[in-house]
Symmetry: C2
Subunit: 249 residues, 2 copies
């Protein structure tokens, strides 16, 4: 049975403050929950409808997590989804772990990307383009925000990320830093770019002056019409696509 | 002075039913309002804060619309923005007008793209890539939905669109139809594609069977990782970018 305390506890996890305090987060909906159960995240609690349980008995049997059968209405009252007839899971936040740069890898770095939908979409794009590592400035949206997880469409389980001081990291890493700017080189004319860091800036202000110093190549998506700019997630996708096609992979 | 009736009237325009009945819509925020005033849309009513009025006196003087000075709080109570210290404008909906296909043009067609954020983002992408014409199936989100207009970032003023039966139009137009599929030809290997229609499907179900018959070229964005799919606006952007770069423009 779903206790009032459990309801209250899950509801606190909507807020970053409590996620940090508890070092826990939740995901909801069939796709995200199944991806979570298939990952190396440590799941502690699983709320399931009877029909979800029936459809995934084998998988759920193997779990060490506490499993509570709930109604669709209960799921919707604790989560953020308007409609959820499957499941919601609570898992442990992973330790914020620094990683070294692997030669030949493309890494995405985000300088204060604040919108959770943008961050989630960028995680999904990274996963599509086989990018394993992401760097986030400390003011970037919280990875464990339910909207980030939702818009990543399960890809949040397949990327590694580190929140930290990007200037310090760029200083240490010996690789090109491609910065997305409005007035840089046409990315369509970049041939065989070396692997490195693709740096994307804040939605309103772009890349900060502090980080601009580390940018070795300013790149731009050529425009053919009158829009002033592109959304940061859209720009990330187009740049990743150009990098992949031009690296001949 | 802002009357209760005007407040009530603008609030009804949040709903498609009343927008259709009144043949009017609203936009809010500095950027969208300025783009609207600079376009061929017929503006009927303009709510402005004193500071917005002061900043744009010349422009507002030339308007034939009714202008009402309001407080930021009033703007926020009639619109959908959490924060709006500039303006909100009510304008006339344009007649849904069919257009013929111009040779050498790339047209975007949407088969039931339902999410207003996706539609608005696609309009912004079209404007970035110089695509002037869009076709929407009748179940596609409403162009005049405030969220569509907002996410188009002003680009809604620079595209022409027609809501109608896509099958009938494809039947008439003599040009390739490029359909976005998960199992089509690698778009990176498409060289010098002929201009035509880029057809994007519904968020969950893709392109309908009825329209699949008209697709001359199934195209796919190559994936390098494990994400199952890309968001429809993201995919539209990547495909437009590939078309533009490969047409040698």
């Amino acid at each position: 049975m779903l206790s009032k305390n459990t309801v209250k506890f899950i509801k606190t996890l909507h807020q970053k403050k409590y996620r940090n305090l508890e070092q826990k987060f939740f995901v909801e909906g069939e796709k995200s929950v199944l991806e979570l159960l298939d990952s190396d995240f440590e799941v502690e609690l699983l709320l399931v409808t009877a029909s979800f349980l029936e459809g995934h008995q084998q998988l759920i049997k193997q779990l060490e997590a506490e499993v509570i059968i709930v109604s669709q209405k209960q799921l919707e009252s604790v989560g953020q989804f308007q409609s959820n007839d499957s499941a919601l899971a609570v898992a442990k936040i992973k330790v914020n772990q620094y990683f070294e740069y692997n030669q030949n890898e493309l890494v995405i770095a985000l300088d204060d990307v604040r919108d959770p939908g943008n961050l989630g979409t960028i995680i999904r794009i990274a996963d599509w383009y086989g990018i394993k590592h992401l760097l986030f400035s400390s003011q970037t949206a919280d990875f464990y925000n339910p909207k980030v997880l939702q818009s990543s469409m399960g890809s949040f389980t397949r990327v590694k990320f580190f929140y930290g001081n990007l200037a310090e990291i760029f200083n240490k890493w010996d690789c090109p830093v491609y910065g997305a700017y409005l007035g840089g080189s046409n990315v369509h004319q970049l041939t065989k770019p070396k692997p490195g860091i693709l740096l994307m800036g804040n939605e309103s202000n772009g890349i900060s002056e502090e980080l601009e110093k580390f940018v070795t190549d300013k790149v731009t998506i050529p425009g053919y019409g009158s829009a002033e700019s592109l959304n940061v997630a859209i720009a990330t996708a187009i740049l990743c696509d150009n990098f992949r096609r031009m690296s001949g992979v």
